[in-house]
Amino acid sequence: MAERVRVRSMAPPGHVRAPFYLRGKEGEIERALGEFGNPEELAYHHDASRKPLYRVRFTMRELWGEAAERPEDTLDAEIYGHWLERL
């Protein structure tokens, strides 16, 4: 069973790389990518902490509801661990 996660519905100020259209949406971990410098710190030339990065797969139904072209199609995005909560 793939691990289910939800993208946190946060709206912090500054540079973030979790797109708005995915916040609050549920998906599953497609693969773990390892740890990367946190772009929220790198963007301001801070010494960045290392954060785990995941590819998360969402169904188009989850993103757009029944208005989706084909609800079973999917969207994968890279989301940092501190933006995810496990379900």
């Binding site: 790389r17 979790a18 259209y21 990367f36 999917t74 969207l75 994968d76 995005a77 890279e78 989301i79």
Partner: protein
């Protein structure tokens, strides 16, 4: 003399029949000034020479979709290479001799059941170190927003109509990875050489907005 009628130039066509292009003598933007200031400081402090900067621009301009096409063709003819490509596309590209720098590349495979499409909704992330500069449309808000909302409509506009039996997987390059589509090898290409196969691989087929040429 055209220059005697300076105010009216924009109404007229050049001798070749095209509108005159406005000179770029408007004020520099904040970021243009910043780029010039940083570049001149780097030169002044002896960290880079103008020649090195020009050479780096040349190196980026020399990269082209042909590099990616060579990788795809190798994967079509060599199953072991294809397995390495799908496991770690950066290492597989380096193995073929491409200098891709720090690029972290993931290859996603098109099959009879799955069609992959690449987008960067946040900006314009693209595997430049392998494929060269992205097409202008890749950076437009129209492509970036529509590719995730209605990928099938976008694909139809690119001439790719997929049956409902094929699952579309859109990949949004939101962070540190870059993506290349490994298109399915066209039928009727048995017996073609690796170089002949590479000539079938278009830039768009590696973004997912196109399919390889047919032989």
């Amino acid at each position: 003399m055209p220059h005697d009628h300076h105010d009216h130039d924009h109404d007229h066509l050049s001798p070749s029949g095209h509108p005159f292009r406005a000179d770029n003598d408007t004020a520099l933007t904040y970021w243009q000034r910043m780029e010039i200031a940083v570049r001149e400081l780097l030169v002044e402090k002896g960290i880079l020479t103008p020649g090195e900067i020009a050479a780096q621009i040349d190196a980026m301009d020399a990269r082209s979709p042909a590099d990616g096409a060579a990788v795809v063709a190798r994967a079509w003819v060599d199953p072991a290479f294809k397995a390495r490509l799908l496991a770690d596309a950066s290492e597989a590209s380096r193995e073929m001799g491409f200098d891709i720098g720090a690029l972290r590349l993931i290859a996603v495979e098109n099959t009879s059941e799955v069609h992959n499409l690449i987008v960067c909704t946040l900006c314009s992330c693209y595997p430049r170190n392998l494929l060269g500069l992205p097409p202008d449309w890749y950076k437009t808000r129209a492509y970036r927003s529509r590719a995730v909302i209605e990928p099938r409509a976008v694909l139809r506009e690119f001439g790719v109509t997929l049956p409902d039996s094929v699952t579309v997987r859109v990949h949004d390059s939101t962070a540190d990875m870059r993506y290349i589509v490994l298109p399915a090898r066209p039928e009727g290409t048995e017996g073609m050489s690796e170089a002949e196969l590479a000539a079938l691989v278009t830039r768009d087929s590696m973004i997912g907005t196109g399919l390889p040429r047919l032989p």
